[in-house]
Symmetry: C2
DNA sequence: GCTGAAAATTATGCATT
DNA sequence: AATGCATAATTTTCAGC
């Protein structure tokens, strides 16, 4: 019933890479009594298939971007594509998604202080053609984000 | 005025690792005419400092978790810690953050189909003591997430 | 904090099952 | 798909600057 063909071995490798994406395949192989080549093949297959991405996550707080807010927008349909392009070009935007309504966009933004957020809400966003700020909320703390997500282990059970 | 001491070289390395966290330090060194040891030192320093994490991001959609929803909760204060623990233990929860109100929690969840989401909203959440579902919204598509976030390049300008 | 050179480890290409 | 082996490349250790 599963659409993929990854098993518990892949799952174990996944967990290791989640902890350290640069962990040598040989080391993982030793830990689970696998052939070193097998580990590298599995990693390659998962990346190739698009199941995983091995990447570098930057911590906004480390660089002083300690203010997080969610902002809810309505966008006039004829401006939608331009607005999305503009928002994606802004380094302050850490999340961008379509909302439930046909004109809704949600974004999450990061700033060094409240003044910058205020400026963004008051000036930057309203100056983009077709954008209407419907509301926003400060996000005091994020406890989990997508980079920690993992399917239930049952997904990897043997056939 | 910056709290950190990373420069444009670190930035360049960062971008390479963002594209592929396993890219050999020697390859990065060649690309930017750096000493291979320098590259490895820089990576180590950034990881050590907590500025970056080299990790494995799993794509929910690949594993069939194609339904995304944001859910807004209110939690009775005396149950807060238990609720958070319970939510973090659920593999469906891909995001969890405090909200603006003292009792607010926002979560993002992933499901394979609408029926599972419905069940989660109708049964799973209400059965957790102290939890009240205030609302929810489907998320038709996510265009950017935190794993693509990066501070503006100016942050890395030389002193 | 950067670099060099030797040693150890890891990755790759190719062939076999 | 998994593995063994030979070769290539990379990482590590230890040193000096």
């Amino acid at each position: 019933m599963r659409r993929h063909s990854f098993d518990l071995v892949d799952y174990q490798i996944l967990r290791e890479l989640q902890a350290d994406a640069r962990k040598p395949a040989a080391e993982i192989a030793r830990k689970f009594n696998l052939n070193e080549r097998t580990v590298r093949n599995r990693i390659e297959r998962m990346v190739e298939a698009g199941a995983i991405r091995l990447t570098c996550i930057v911590d906004p707080a480390f660089f002083g971007y300690v203010i997080t807010a969610d902002i809810f927008l309505e966008v006039e349909l004829e401006h939608e594509q331009a607005v999305i392009t503009a928002l994606l070009a802004m380094p302050e935007v850490s999340y961008l998604a379509f909302g439930q309504g046909t004109q809704d966009l949600s974004i999450e933004v990061r700033f060094k202080n409240n003044e910058q957020l205020r400026e963004f809400l008051r000036s930057v966003l309203p100056s983009i053609p077709g954008v209407h700020v419907k509301g926003y909320a400060l996000v005091p703390r994020i406890l989990r984000n997508i980079d920690e997500w993992m399917p239930p282990v049952e997904e990897f059970a043997e056939e």
